[in-house]
Amino acid sequence: MSGLLTDTLITGLPLVPVYLGVYLVLRIREDFDLTVEGSFALGGGVCAVLIAHGHGPWLALLAAVVSGVAAGVVTACLNLTLDIPVVLAGLVTSLALFSVTLRITGQPTVSLVGADTVATSLFGEAGRGDAQQIAVLAVVVALVLVAFAAFLMTELGLALRASGVNAEMVRAQGVSERGLVVLSLALSNGLTGLGAALAVQTMGYADVNMGVGTFVAGVGAVLLGVLVFRPTGSQVARIVLAVLVGTLLYRFLLVGALRIGVPAGDLKGITALTLVIAVAAQRFARIGLTALTRPTSSTSASVQTPEGTPT
């Protein structure tokens, strides 16, 4: 049982920032961003290459965040300049990011066995122990959650929270929809880059395919969390708690499945099943999840005034 918990925390905590980003776009912006699949692999690759070249693990973490932000900005630009819906723009970006990541890493897999991590930078060789890794991850994740909650409570964060539900009203209050698209995608993919870097450092390797399935897994985790906490748009503390608990619950299910002997190849199936069950439970519990039940054509592209011009 303690092994189950340890595995859940070690594999789950790095994903909390990633799924926080998924929550931001899915629930707060009510949109779908598939860029995360690409920016997860990109962040992981950037982090691994930097560490492999002898740079510090903290610097690698920062670089992964920056690369994720850049990926998000690309998707936002595709959406804003060419009017491609965010769903499609994200798909295109993540496809391109596969090649970009491969260029950066030079090989499909980068091993970091024995390399420095954020944990060893603090604890020395003892930092390879489970307890030390979990402690460092927990502190980083806690900081991210607190910072994110604080951000949501700012004027800018409030505009973001209102924009998914009532874009017209937010424009009437003087907020540029375009600015919010850039902000939300940059932030969400920056968080994804951070999570990827943490994951790479705990796993000890990066793989160009490590992002595949991130989005669906994120949606599943987010829905689980929402099911437990049912946060409204103004309950910021509940929002971050929902993501934390949802992520860990979801990882707990996967790790548990592995432990009872489910072959690793079936895990993607379990992820999909988790998502379906979570959606079904939402339905049953009558929690509105507009982003999933609404036709995708009504994403942010159609929300702008036809007369709106880039300024």
């Binding site: 700012t154 800018l156 409030l158 505009a159 209102a162 009532n166 937010v170 209050q173 540029s176 748009g233």
Partner: protein, 279 residues
């Protein structure tokens, strides 16, 4: 009523504004056929006209939701014709006809008000709701007499249409706009609630000193509140009546003006409005 100095820059000015929807297509509609209008600060203009007369189009061209095919829109003397709606929001507040449109239902009362407090200003990385702002919000909500000042944390979505529309009115007033736009903002409310929100409208318009444009199908409301009454038809202003003239008018007289201007007598909403006005 108040006298307005004609040499003063009007708070709101429309010059030869034309709006064409679906331009160039076989089903194109000319919604406004060259409107000229100057509204000084502090004046409340009521607008009546049958369905499709172009009232909402006029509101939208001022808010920036629609861009004119030709003509200019000036606010406080500044040409804003090419500015998108969100860049006019500091000067223009609007209340929609649908109570659900003016507020974010998932957010609390205080979050909605906080959003309006920064209308037109830069959104900063600063707490949106501070204790000082809460005091201001409570004060403003208390004017409504609905007890909403004690429900700051409740979701707006759980409030009634009248309560939501009242909050939207307070939100509109918070940013001290130069121009206040009200498009049938009482349409979804029951008579008693409509009365309350109407009184609030008169009070806010007076306090704000903004140029207020209020579209309504209720002739009584139009006569009672307006410093000036515009009658629209077919994309034009067919009559522009100052208070001095409207003071002596009854709802039926306004309908008479509409009818004599070539408007269809069989317009159902107008007939309904007349009946309501005479009852």
């Amino acid at each position: 009523m108040t006298d307005y100095d004609p040499t003063e820059t009007p708070a709101l000015e429309l010059q030869h504004v034309r709006i064409v929807h679906r331009a160039g297509r076989p089903d194109e509609v000319v919604a406004l056929r060259g409107i000229d209008l100057a509204v000084p600060a502090g004046q409340l203009v009521t607008v009546v006209g049958s369905n499709g007369a172009g009232k909402s189009s006029m509101i939208q061209v001022v808010s920036g939701a629609v861009r004119p095919a030709s003509g200019r829109v000036r606010i406080g003397g500044r040409d804003v014709t090419r500015r998108p709606d969100w860049r006019r929001a500091g000067d223009v507040a609007r209340v929609f006809d649908d109570p659900r449109k003016g507020t974010a239902p998932e957010l609390s009362v205080e979050d909605n008000l906080a959003l309006a407090l920064r209308r037109g200003g830069r959104r900063r990385l600063w707490p949106a709701v501070t204790p000082r702002r809460r005091v201001l919000m409570r004060e403003q909500l208390a004017r409504l007499g609905l007890g909403l000042e004690d429900r700051l944390h409740e979701e707006v979505g759980s409030l009634s249409a009248g309560q939501r529309q009242s909050i939207t009115m307070i939100m509109a007033a918070l940013g001290a706009p130069r121009v206040l736009l009200l498009d049938e903002h009482l349409a979804a409310l029951d008579p008693a609630t409509a009365r309350r929100v109407l009184d609030l409208t008169a009070e806010l318009a007076r306090d704000l000193g903004s140029a207020t444009v209020m579209v309504t199908h209720n002739m009584e409301h139009a006569l009672e509140l307006g410093d000036r009454l515009l009658v629209m038809g077919g994309g034009r202003v067919v009559a522009d009546l100052p208070r001095a003239l409207t003071r002596a008018m009854a709802p039926a007289d306004v309908v008479e003006v509409l009818v004599s201007s070539g408007e269809s007598v069989s317009d159902r909403s107008l007939l309904a409005a007349t009946e309501a006005g005479e009852s």
